[in-house]
Symmetry: C2
Subunit: 188 residues, 2 copies
């Protein structure tokens, strides 16, 4: 499934330069400091953020507790999917966990570009498909794996997460308490 990212990359390479130029024209680079919020609860996610460097996360509040739903590293695309898709206020925050550099594209500019450059519709579709498969995998983890199995899964498949992100955040990402995560780690 990871190789789907390669398929997307190779699709992008196959796109004519005119379309790519348009894509660049509607995108701009920006830097954020560690702790900055790119998106807040109740806002409409009007931009997509392609992470060029650094680490970020998406989370929401549940009973005042922060529940991390996604972690972003280089080349990951950060958006609050439902808020972005529906262009309605959502409950998610996007936060820089380190200083970051992102490439920002406005929703409306991208929609407009899609009407002129049909290849962008296919790109949009591929990105949505990739996200769908990714969320499906997350759901599978919650549906059938124990806390320990979920931790071992990211330890194996995404070790960069474990070394770069505080345990509090990893615990909420795994849907367990900080203490339980600590005990899982102690037990190997």
């Amino acid at each position: 499934m990871t190789s789907y990212l390669e398929k997307i990359a190779s699709y992008i390479k196959s796109i004519d330069s005119e379309t790519l130029t348009e894509l660049q024209r509607i995108s701009s680079e920006k830097k954020y400091k560690k702790g900055d919020l790119l998106l807040r609860q109740n806002e409409i996610c009007e931009k997509s953020y392609l992470l060029l460097s650094g680490i970020a996360r998406k989370y929401y509040l549940n009973d005042g507790k922060e529940i991390t739903t996604e972690l972003y590293f280089e080349n990951d695309l950060a958006v609050s999917f439902e808020s972005y898709t529906l262009q309605q206020p959502g409950r998610e925050f996007i936060e820089a966990l380190t200083d970051i550099t992102v490439s920002i594209t406005h929703y409306q500019a991208f929609q407009d570009a899609k009407t002129k450059y049909p290849k962008l519709v296919t790109l949009d579709l591929m990105l949505a498909e990739y996200y769908g498969m990714w969320v499906e995998h997350r759901l599978f983890q919650f549906h059938t794996m124990t806390a320990t199995e979920r931790y071992l899964d990211i330890l194996t498949k995404s070790p960069h997460i474990v070394q770069a992100v505080p345990l509090t955040i990893i615990a909420s990402y795994l849907g367990i308490s900080l203490e339980t995560l600590s005990r899982i780690r102690a037990r190997i």
Copy 2:
């Protein structure tokens, strides 16, 4: 979010008749008996099934236990998302829970049609977006809700599920044991 389905429906209505005719041309109706499998583990999901009548489900095996991942009613589109998207063997089964009638569209025929009728690419995108938001909501339920809350959620938002589907299947859909579901129901 449910209204996104309406948006999809209204998008379909806005599609020119030539495109719609093509869509009909590559689709065909078929009936299945209760218990029939439309897709098995390790097969490639080469078709999408639009449910015209009856009830179906998608599930996979985990330690020999059937884990239901989705329930389908009239007008729902049944596919094993990852297997369909990647055209690779997957682990999911699709099963008729009652006698059903479906409208079948072949993956490849739809891909071919998309190259001639660009509106179908947008339709495909909208369907993928809808599925992504739906899975995100399921993940949210598993991430932050208790078993009781999850049951009350479907009882409230999808009461048709509870009246039409055996508890064994609902329990696995909610990620809890049959006994726990029975106790939750007893406690109201």
